[in-house]
């Protein structure tokens, strides 16, 4: 089952969990247990000008703005590592990953692991060593889990946009107390933007779904993003690497765009909506975000409490491909 464009754009706001279980057609689109939307969400934007040693304090500040119980917890950091391009800004910066490892440990986390399942690229050793992530992991004595090859088990899908009855998910994630999505702030040539929700594509094991995870493309990228995020049964947090983002033909071949911001939050939908606004992109026009905003979190600006810097101070006019030009209009 694929959602039509009209269905995606219609009714971005959920009136409430009970009433939103059924879509306008009457067909159930998500399970009651998948509803995570609260009446309000909190998002923080903290300025960060460079990838340097000061990031640990900034990340720590970001964490402290959210009253999360981290003592003794198992935390999985899920950055976005796609391919190695020595001249590009494809991946979450390893220095930010290092800062997050350190910050979560200082905040009391018992175990911090880094996990990723790249969508195209199978040579993990090259990806980790060439990008510098391996050096970070070694320095911080942190385990890396290749989610593409992790042990996995099937979970019933929390919503019904793809028609996939279940999704195999890696045990490392299912055993975590907190899953931290750490995407790069990027435009995306199929989805419009790729942020903390789209980053969860990397949680789907390639050994089962392939490289790329093509069956999800057939099921619909927007639909798959919603279904994956509604299925992950783990508490979530997001830290978006917007120090240097990518504009244009993202997620791999776009150009670097300095933005100087980190975006934090417990509601990944609200985080992504805020990050999209930072790029001067209307999140209500991103199909998967509009739909996630019905039951997974908040997209509407009036339902997001903004901490840290106001968006306008750090907002950048990210270039998009011509087919996404309509996303730039906030009308």
């Amino acid at each position: 089952m694929r959602l039509g464009r009209r269905a995606f754009l219609g009714g971005a706001l959920a009136a409430g969990a009970a009433s939103s279980v059924h879509g306008c057609t009457g067909a159930p689109r998500w399970e009651r247990s998948a509803v995570r939307q609260l009446s309000r969400s909190r998002v923080a934007i903290l300025p960060a000008g460079a990838y340097d040693g000061g990031l640990v304090e900034i990340v720590l500040r970001g964490l402290r703005l959210f009253d999360m119980p981290l003592a003794g917890k198992r935390v999985v950091l899920k950055p976005n590592f796609v391919e190695h391009d020595p001249n590009g800004v494809v991946n979450t910066h390893p220095t930010l990953v290092a800062a997050a490892i350190e910050a979560f440990r200082r905040a009391g986390a018992r175990h911090v692991v880094v996990a990723e399942g790249p969508g195209h690229y199978r040579d993990t050793e090259h990806l980790l060593t060439a990008t510098g992530l391996h050096a970070v992991l070694r320095e911080h004595r942190t385990r890396y889990v290749d989610l593409n090859n992790d042990d996995a088990r099937p979970l019933r899908v929390g919503s019904h946009y793809t028609g996939l009855g279940h999704l195999y998910l890696p045990e490392t994630l299912l055993e975590a107390d907190l899953l931290v999505s750490m995407p790069k702030l990027k435009t995306h040539h199929w989805a419009g933007v790729t942020l903390s929700l789209k980053n969860m594509f990397g949680c789907i094991p390639g050994a089962i779904y392939g490289w790329p995870k093509n069956v999800l493309h057939w099921a619909g990228i927007h639909e798959s993003i919603v279904d994956i995020n509604s299925t992950l049964p783990v508490p979530r947090f997001a830290i978006v690497d917007g120090i240097v983002g990518m504009e244009g033909n993202g997620p791999i071949q776009g150009e670097a765009r300095q933005c100087g911001a980190l975006v934090f939050g417990e509601d990944p939908v609200a985080v992504d909506a805020t990050a999209a606004r930072l790029m001067t992109i209307d999140p209500r026009k991103i199909r998967y975000l509009a739909e996630a905003g019905r039951f997974l979190g908040n997209v509407a600006e009036e339902r997001i409490d903004q901490a840290g810097e106001p968006i306008d101070r750090l907002r950048q006019d990210f270039r998009v491909l011509p087919m996404f030009q309509a996303l730039k209009s906030f009308a």
């Binding site: 020595p86 199978r122 040579d123 050793e125 040539h189 089962i208 392939g210 093509n214 069956v215």
Partner: protein, 300 residues
Amino acid sequence: MTRFSEEQLVASQNRDGGWGAQQGRASSTEITALATLALGRLDTPASRASATHGLRWLAARQHDDGGWPVSARVDDSSWATALAVLTLDVLGREPARAVRGARWLLRRTPRTLGVAISLLHRFAPSTLAVRLNPDLKGWAWTADAASFVEPTCYALLALKRVRRHLPGAAVAERIDEAERMVYDRMCRDGGWNYGNSTVLEAELWPYADVTALALLALADHPQREPNQRSLRALRGMLQHVDSGLSVAWATLCFAAYGEDVAPWRGRLVERYARTAFLGETKAVALALLALSGGAEVFRA
């Protein structure tokens, strides 16, 4: 390194006889097939015993339809069937199982992109976001998905070995079409990535591991210009890529094309000493194969 990697493989075998992507992970067909293949060609008591155990794991996991699942935890027969077929055929064990697996591969067809895309490709190819010939079928990673390079290459390697057991023209036709599909997906300057050479008019770059694998799958056409172009591209990529997986595949590839691989073997040994390939069982198995003259297992 041959001794170390052999010992590492034997030591990382799970109690059920299979191997996982890393030590301690659940056994998977892909990794078990490659580790069994690497150890099964060696002549030490430990490797022979380990390979026998691996073969038993493979035999026990074959489905009634002839295919193999990705792992014991997943129900459906999968792309990894090709590697199980290859291993059984190379080691000369369980020939009937290999043929049943090959027949499963022949029944397996990828999803097509539809008539509309096919017509656009013929009459207005520049309107397509991804530049490829949608009519050419290889193999997909999963049911209900389109052809991609890596599963197609594994299927080619397996079918080219076992086609002597499969009478009729269907095998040759399927191999021919899959080869054309692989060539169609080649990057402009040679080499392959997962399977798209151009997206939204932007050229994508090739990957060393997939390029070497594709060249192995096409090694019975060594003089073709795309093969030669891709060999050059692979050498270029290896100036920047030093991982166990890529160098092992490349060593096997260059050996299959009759090149001197002593320098590549040296690089493999040096890399293993530095990183132990980050504990990736697949890379260790392929390296062991590369260091023990294993390119012949990929010969049609």
